[in-house]
Symmetry: D2
Subunit: 503 residues, 4 copies
C-alpha cells in the first residue's frame, strides 16, 4: 500500500495546478507542508509577518474546508481555478491541522489535472454596433483603461485600436502600462479635465468606484455616455447606466471593436477642439511639474525626487508602490511602459503589501533570470508596516531596489530641530502630532543590518548616484532613504491641481 | 418642501425597477411599507408564514443596508439588477426600522431608473469550432438541457438546433419544458442509460452537481467529453474538465452553434445504434410504467395517479411540485410542454416552497387573465410545511389546483388499521415510525375550511372527476386529497429502474 | 470489535445527558438518527415544519461541528451543558451527513457522563447591605420579577421575601406566575403607574430592554434607583447604572435578602401613599376592564373573551400564547398561578412558536400523567404560522386546548359583508388592507380535518360550553375558533390605558 | 447651539470611561479622532503596523456599530464595560467614516458616566464546604493558579491561603507572579510530576485547555478530583467534571476558602511523601538546569542566557515575552515576583504582540514615573513580526529593554558558514530549510537605526555588561541581540524533561 500524508497531498495538488511558489511562516504543522512543497518542486519563501489566516476567509472569493484527505486535490483545483476564472480573487482553503500528518492510501485519491486557462466570451454583436455608433457621435471621447485590461492581456490589440481610432486614453492606477504612459494618445497628465469634459467614455475593465469618482458629477459630465466593457455581469451598470453594455473578455471585445473600426476606416480626428484642450492642459501641467522638480532648495520635494528616479529607471522594471502622497504623486511621475509591471496598494489602499509584492516579483524574475529589476517605492509610514521583510530580501539575495521617500510622517512630519524642542515641552504622547514619525529615521540602516546596501540621500546628486549603484548590483537589495521636506505636503496646497482630490 | 418617507421611497424605488408584486406579513413597521407599495401601484399579497428575514442574508447573492434614506433607490436598483444579471439569485436589502417612518426632502433623493435587461455575451469562436468538431465525432451524443437554458430563454433557437442536428436530449428537473417533454428527440424516459453511455454531452446551462451525479462514474462514462455551455465562469470545469468551454449567454451560444450546423448541414443520423438503444429502452420503460399505471388494485399507486393527472392537465398549465417520491416520480410522469412552466424544490430540495410558488404564479396569471392554470402537486409531508397558505389562495380567490398525493407519511406510511392497533400498544412517541403521519388525514378539509373546494379521492374515477371539476372552476382553489397505498414506496423496490437512485 | 454508528452515538450521547425528547422532520439521513433515538429510549415527535437548520447557528449561544465520531459525546455534553449554565440559550451542533452512517469501534469512544445542574453563586455581602439600605429609604418601592427568577426557581423564597417585606411586585411577561398573579402584592393591573412613579426598583432577573422601556424616562422616573439582581455580569448596568449590583443566582440572592429582612424585621408599611395610589389605580382599571368584559354586544370583544376563559381555566394549566393584541391583552387578563407555566413569543415576539411549545408541553404532561392541561391562546394570524401542527397534536393524541381569537386580521380585520363588497371593486391584491385575512375563516375545521374537536364560537355561552367540553376531554386536542369584533382593536383606542403602549 | 463632532464624541466618551491611552495609525478620518483624543486629555501612541480592523470583529466579545452620533456614548460605555465585566475580552466598535466629521447639537446627546468596577459574586456555601472537605482528604493536593487569579487581583488573600494551608502551587504561564515564583510552596520546577501525580487540584481561574493538557490522562491522574474556581459559568465542567464547582469572583472565593481554613486551623503537613517527591524533583531539575546554564562552550545555549538575565533583572520589572523556545524556556527560567507583571503570547500563541505590549507598558510606567522597567524577551522569528515598532519606542523615548534570543531561525537555524556553503548549491527557495532565517542577523542595528542602544552579544560577559548598561539607561530603548547556538533546540532533545511537551 502506497500511503501519502496530507502535507504531501497539499503539495502535490498545488504542483499539479502549476503553483510555483509558496510563501509562509512555519510553525507546527506548517513545517511539514513547507517541506513537502519543496520536495514536490515548489519553491518556498519564508516571510517575517503574516495576518490571522482564518480572518482572510472573509475577504476571499471562495473558501472551503476539505472534509477528508481524499478531497484535497479537488478542493485545491477548485480554489486555484476560481482564483483565475471570472473576476480574479484570492481563495482560501482551510485544512485541519490533524490532516497534515494523517495518511491515506494513494490509490484512493482521485488525481485532478491542472485547470485550463480561463474561458473567454465575446460581446453581443448588437452592442458592439451600438458602441461604435456612440463613439462616432462623440465630440469629446475618452478611453479609460482599467486593471481588467491588464488582467485580460489586451495590450496588443488595444494599442492597435487606440492608434487606428485616434482616441485619447487615460489609465487607472492599476491600468498603467497596458499602453505606455508616454504614448502620444495618453492624456493622464490632464486627468481631471479629461474626466470632466468627456462626452463619451469607453470604460475598459475599470470600475466606477471612488477611484473614478463613481462616474458622477461633479467630477464627470452629467450627460456622459459610458460604453462599459466588463467581464463581470453584476458590475455592469453599477452607478451609471451604460449606453452600451459589452459583456465579456476585454481582449476579445477590443478585438471586436477593432474589427469594426478597421472595416470602415473610422478615425477620431486629431485636429479637434477636444485634442487641443487636452494637449494644452498637458503642457501647462508639465511646465508646473517641471518647475517644482527643478527647484534646487533642500530638503528636496516629491517632484524633484520622482523626476530623477523616473529618468534612471529602466523601462522594463517592475514598480511596486505604497503610501499616501508617495503613491499618489509617484503614480503621476513614474511612467510605466509595459503591462502588468506595476503593483500598488489597490482599491482599498491596503498598507503593508509592498515589500511582499516586491519579494514575490523579485524571486520570480531572479529564477527566470529575466534581467528585469524590481523597484519598490514606499512612503516612510508604509515601509513601517512590513519593513522587517528586508531580512527576507537579504536572506534570499533578492536584488530589490527599495526607495523610501521619507518626510518624517504620515502626510507630513516635523524637522529634527522642531521635534527636539517639542520633546522638551512635555509628554510626547500628549503633544506630538499623530501624523509625526521620528525625524530622519535611518531606514537605510534597517537594510544594512541584514547585509543589504543602504544609502542616506539628501541631494539630487546623492539620489542619482545611489540609484545608479543600486541598479548595477544584481546580488543584493538596496534601500535609499530619501529625506525630503517634511512639510512637503502642505506646500503642495498652493498647487491644488496637483493634490489628490484633483488628480 | 416636498417630503417623502422611507416607506414611500422603498415602494417607489421598487416600482421604478418594475417590481409588480410584494409578498409579506405585516407587523410594525412593515404595514407602512405594504401600504406605500399599494399606493405606488404594486400589488401586495399577505402570506401566512415567513422565515427569519435576517437569516436569509446568508443565502443571498447580494446583501446591503442603506446608510441613509437617500441611498435607498440606488441600493434597491443594485439589488434588483444583481438578482437578474449573471447567475440569478435572491438579494437581501436590510432597512432599519427607524428609516421607514423617517422623512427626507424629495429633492435630495437622486432618481434611479429601471435597470436594463441583463447584458449578453457570446462564446469564443474557436471554442464553438471545437465544440462542433467534438460533436461531429460523437457516436453517442446527448444534449442535457438545464435551468440555465430556461432562464436564458433559449427555447426557440434550441428547438431549431435539436431538430436540425438530430441530437437526443434530456432535461434536468428545472430544464423540463424548454423543449416539450413529448418531443421525438427527448430521451428522458431512458435517462440512466443515456447518461451512462453518452460519449459526448452538450451541457446547456446545467451544473454537474448531485442531480447529475457530478458527471462522474459510475453514472457517467469515464471517457465522456463534456461541451460545457455556461453563463458563470467560475462554474466552468467544476468536477469535469470540459472538452470545449463555451462561456456566455445560453441563447446566444446555441444560436452560434446553430449557425455552424446550418452552414454545413451536418445532422446526426437517426439510424444509429445509439438511437436504437435509446428508443428500445424508452419503449421498455414505457411498458413497465404503463403496467403499473393501469393496475386496478386499491389503494392506487403513484403511477396510476400520475398517469391520469397527466392525461387531464392542459398543456399550458404551470406545474409546481415538491415532496420526495411525489416530486421524483411526478417529474417523470407529468410532461411539461412549455418553458418556465415548472417550479419545484430545486437543487437543495427545499420543502415548503410549493404553495408560495403556486400563489405567486396564480396571482400573476389571474391578473394577466392568461387562461393558464396553476397545478400544485405535493407530497403529504411537503404540504404540511406551508399548508396554511390555502387560506391565502382562498382569500384572493386564486384558482390553484392543489393535488396532495397522500401516502400517510414521509417516503412511506401506515394504513389506518395498523396505526390504531399500534396506538394501543404504548406511547406513540416511543413506537411510531418517525416517517409516519396520521393515516388518511383530511387535507381536503383544510381547504374547505376556508371556502375552497375539497375532494377526498380513493379511485381513478374520483380522481378524474375531481380534477375535471377543479379545472373547470376559475374562481376558487381546489384540493384533491389523493389517498394512495401507504407502502407504495416499498413496492417500487421491485422495479429498481424506477427508483430515485436509478432515474 | 463492537462497532457503533454516528446515529447511535448521537442518540446515546443525548440520552446520557438526560435528554428525553427529540423533535424533528425526518429525511435522509435524519431517519437513522430518529430511529436510534427511539432505540436509546428517547421519545421522538415528528413535526410538520422546520426552519433552515444551518441558519439557527447565528442565534445560538454555542455552535460546534464534531471533527470525528469520537468527538460526538463531548460536543453534545458541552452543548447541553452550555444551554443551561449561565444565561440559558439554544445551542447548535452540526453533524456532517456522512458521519451518521459511519462507524467506529466503541472502545475508542470516551464516555461522557451527564453534566451536573448549573453552579450557583451568591451576591457580595456589601452589595446586599447596600441593597437593603436603599430599599429601606424607598418611598415608592417596586419589585420587578423577570424570567430569570423563573429560570432560577426562586419562587418559594421570593414569596416569603415579598410577604415579609410587604413590597409591591410586577411580573414581566415571562416572569408571570413566579408568584401568583392574584397575590395581594401584585400590582400588574397598575403597571404604567407603578413603573413611572417607583423610586426604587428591585429588578430580579429582568432586562431593561424595550419590554421595560429601557428603564428610562418617560416611562420611568428619571431618579429611580435600580437594585439589579442578575446572573450575567455583562448585563449588569445595561442602560441604567444600578444603585446596587447583586451578581449571582437569583434564588440564592433573594435568600440573602430575605435573611437580612428577617433578621431586623423590616417591613414596608401598607398604609403608605404609594400603596394607596397603586390600589386606587388597580381598582379603576379593574372597573373599566370589567365594564368592557361584560358588554353584551356581539361580536364579542377581547375583554369579554378573556374574562370567561380566565374563569374556566384550571389554576395549574400551562398557558401558551402568541399574537399581537391576543398576546398583549391576554397577558393582562389571564392569570398565572404557578411558575414556569407560561410560554409566549418572548423578547423578540417570534411568531409561529406557540403550537410547537404546546406540543412539547403536552407530550411531557401526558407522559407524566400529570393531570395538567396545556391551553394555547393564539391570534388568528399567529395561528397561520404553524397551524398545520394540529395534525401532530392529533397524531399523538395530545389534548391541547387551542383557542384562536379571530378578528379576521392582524391588529384588525374586516367583517364578511364589507369584505365581499370590496372584492367586487377590483383586484384584492391592490385594494385589500394588508392587515386583512379571510373573514370568519374556519380554523376549527383545520382541527376537525385531523380528527380533533372543533368549535365555532360567537357568543359567551358557546365559548363557555366549548371550553368546558374541551377541558373535559383528555384524549384529543380541541380548537375553539372564537370570532370577535374585527374592528375590536380600533375601539380600544378609547381606552388608551389598556393599549399596548400604555401597559 | 453647541455642536459637537463625531470625533469629539468618541474622544469624550472614551475619556468619560477613564480610557487613558489610544493606540493607532492615522489616516483619513482617523486623524480627527486622534487629535480629538489628545484634546480631551487622552494620550495617543502612533504605531507602525495594524491588522485589518474589520476582521477583529470576529474575535471580539462584543461588537457594535452606533446607528447615530447620539448613540456613541452609550455604545462606547457598553463596549468598555463589557470588556471588563465577566470574562475580560476585547470589544469592537465600528464607527462609519461619515460620522467622524458629522455634527450634532450637544444638548441632544445623553451623557453616560463611567461604568463602575465589575460586580462580584461569591461561591455557594455548600460548594465551599464540599471543596474544603475534598481538600482535606487529599494525599497529593495541588493548587493551579491561572490568569483568572491575576485578573481577579486575588494575590493578597491567596498568599495567606497558601501559607495557612501549606499547599503546593503551580502557576500557569499567565498566572505567574500572582504569588512569587520563588515562594517555598511553588512547585513549578516539578510541573510534570505535580500534574501527573496530584490527586486533588484546586483550579483557580485556569482553563483545562491544551496548556493544561485538557486535565486528562496521560498528563493528569485519571482519578484526579478538580475543585474548580471559576468566574464564567459556561467554563465550569469543561473537559473534566468538577468535584466542587465554585462559581464567582476568584478573590472573593479564596477569601471564603481562607475563612474555613482559618476557622478550623487545618494545614496540609509538610512532612508528607508528596512534598518529598516534589522537592526531590525540583532539586534534580535545578541541578540539571544549572549544569546547562553553566556550560562555557560558545555559542551560548538558552539556559546560560536566561540564567544570567534572571540574575540581573529587578524583581519589579514587567516581563513581556513571545516566541517558541524562547518563550517556553524563558517562562521556566525567568521568575516573576509580582502579579500582572508578565505579558506573553497567550493561549493561542499569537506572534507579533510583544512589542506592542512592551510599548503600552512602558508608556504607562513612564508617565507614572514608577521606576519599573519593561523587559521584552523575544525569539528572533517573533521579533520579525513587529520589529519596526522599535521606531515607536525611540520616537517616544520609552526605555524598553529588548532581548532578542537569536538562534538564526524558527525552532532552530543554521550557522553562517553552513548557510554560505548551501547558498552556493542552488536557489535558496528550493533548498533552504523553511525554519531558517539569515544567520547572525543584526537585529541590534534595527534599534540603532532609530537612535536606541544596540548590543551584539556572544558571551556571558557581553550579555551581563549589555544588560546592566541597558537597565541603567532610563531615556532610551536598548536591544540586545544575543547570538546562541542555532542548533540549540535539537540538543535539548537529550533532556526530554525540559522540552515543551514535558514542561
Amino acid at each position: 500500500m502506497d500511503e501519502v500524508t496530507g502535507a504531501q497531498l497539499i503539495a502535490e495538488s498545488l504542483k499539479a495546478q502549476k503553483v510555483e511558489y509558496m510563501f509562509g511562516i512555519v510553525g507546527v504543522p506548517v513545517i511539514e507542508v513547507a517541506m513537502a512543497a519543496q520536495a514536490a518542486g515548489i519553491k518556498y519563501v519564508g516571510m517575517r509577518n503574516e495576518q490571522a489566516v482564518e480572518a482572510c476567509r472573509l475577504y476571499s472569493k471562495f473558501a472551503a474546508r476539505p472534509s477528508s484527505l481524499e478531497a484535497i486535490p479537488s478542493v485545491i483545483e477548485k480554489a486555484v481555478r476560481t482564483s483565475m476564472y471570472g473576476r480574479p480573487g484570492a481563495c482560501y482553503v482551510d485544512i485541519a491541522g490533524d490532516m497534515v500528518n494523517a495518511k491515506v492510501d494513494r490509490s484512493k485519491v482521485r488525481e485532478v489535472s491542472c485547470c485550463p486557462p480561463p474561458p473567454v466570451s465575446l460581446a453581443d454583436h448588437d452592442e458592439i454596433t451600438k458602441a461604435i455608433s456612440v463613439l462616432k457621435t462623440a465630440k469629446a471621447p475618452l478611453i479609460i483603461i482599467g486593471k481588467g485590461a491588464a488582467y485580460g492581456r489586451a495590450e496588443t490589440v488595444l494599442k492597435e485600436f487606440v492608434e487606428m481610432s485616434g482616441l485619447p486614453f487615460l489609465p487607472t492606477p492599476m491600468g498603467k502600462g497596458v499602453l505606455p504612459d508616454d504614448h502620444p494618445n495618453c492624456v493622464a497628465a490632464a486627468r481631471s479635465r479629461a474626466l470632466l469634459q468627456a462626452d463619451v467614455v469607453l470604460l475598459l475593465g475599470a470600475r466606477l468606484n471612488w477611484i473614478l469618482h463613481f462616474g458622477l458629477p461633479p467630477r464627470f459630465n452629467p450627460d456622459v455616455k459610458i460604453i462599459q466593457v466588463e467581464l463581470c455581469p453584476e458590475e455592469m451598470g453599477n452607478n451609471v447606466r451604460p449606453a452600451a453594455a459589452l459583456l465579456g473578455d476585454i481582449n476579445a471585445i477590443v478585438t471586436q471593436l477593432l474589427a469594426c473600426v478597421r472595416k470602415d476606416g473610422w478615425k477620431y480626428p486629431f485636429n479637434t477642439e477636444w485634442w487641443s484642450t487636452l494637449k494644452e492642459k498637458i503642457a501647462a501641467n508639465a511646465k508646473m511639474s517641471k518647475a517644482l522638480a527643478l527647484k534646487e532648495t533642500l530638503p528636496m520635494n516629491y517632484y524633484t525626487v520622482f523626476h530623477h528616479i523616473s529618468q534612471l529607471l529602466p523601462h522594463d522594471c517592475i514598480i511596486v508602490s505604497e503610501g499616501a502622497n508617495t503613491m499618489d504623486i509617484g503614480r503621476t511621475m513614474l511612467n510605466n511602459y509595459l503591462p502588468r509591471h506595476r503593483l500598488d496598494a489597490g482599491t482599498f489602499g491596503t498598507m503593508g503589501v509592498g515589500l511582499g509584492f516586491a519579494i514575490a516579483a523579485a524571486a520570480l524574475e531572479k529564477s527566470e533570470n529575466s534581467g528585469r529589476r524590481v523597484v519598490c517605492v514606499e512612503g516612510d509610514s508604509a515601509f513601517g508596516f512590513s519593513g522587517m521583510e528586508v531580512e527576507t530580501m537579504c536572506r534570499y539575495n533578492l536584488p530589490v531596489v527599495l526607495i523610501v521617500v521619507n518626510n518624517n510622517g504620515i502626510y507630513s512630519g516635523m524637522d529634527p530641530k522642531t521635534w527636539k524642542e517639542m520633546a522638551k515641552m512635555g509628554d510626547l504622547t500628549s503633544i506630538a502630532p499623530p501624523v509625526s514619525l521620528l525625524p530622519e529615521a535611518r531606514y537605510d540602516e534597517v537594510m544594512t543590518a541584514f547585509g543589504g546596501r543602504g544609502f542616506l540621500v539628501r541631494t539630487v546628486e546623492e539620489l542619482r548616484s545611489a540609484l545608479q549603484l543600486s541598479l548595477s548590483d544584481w546580488e543584493k537589495p538596496s534601500l535609499l532613504n530619501v529625506l525630503i521636506d517634511p512639510s512637503s505636503d502642505r506646500k503642495q496646497q498652493e498647487f491644488p491641481w496637483l493634490t489628490r482630490s484633483n488628480l
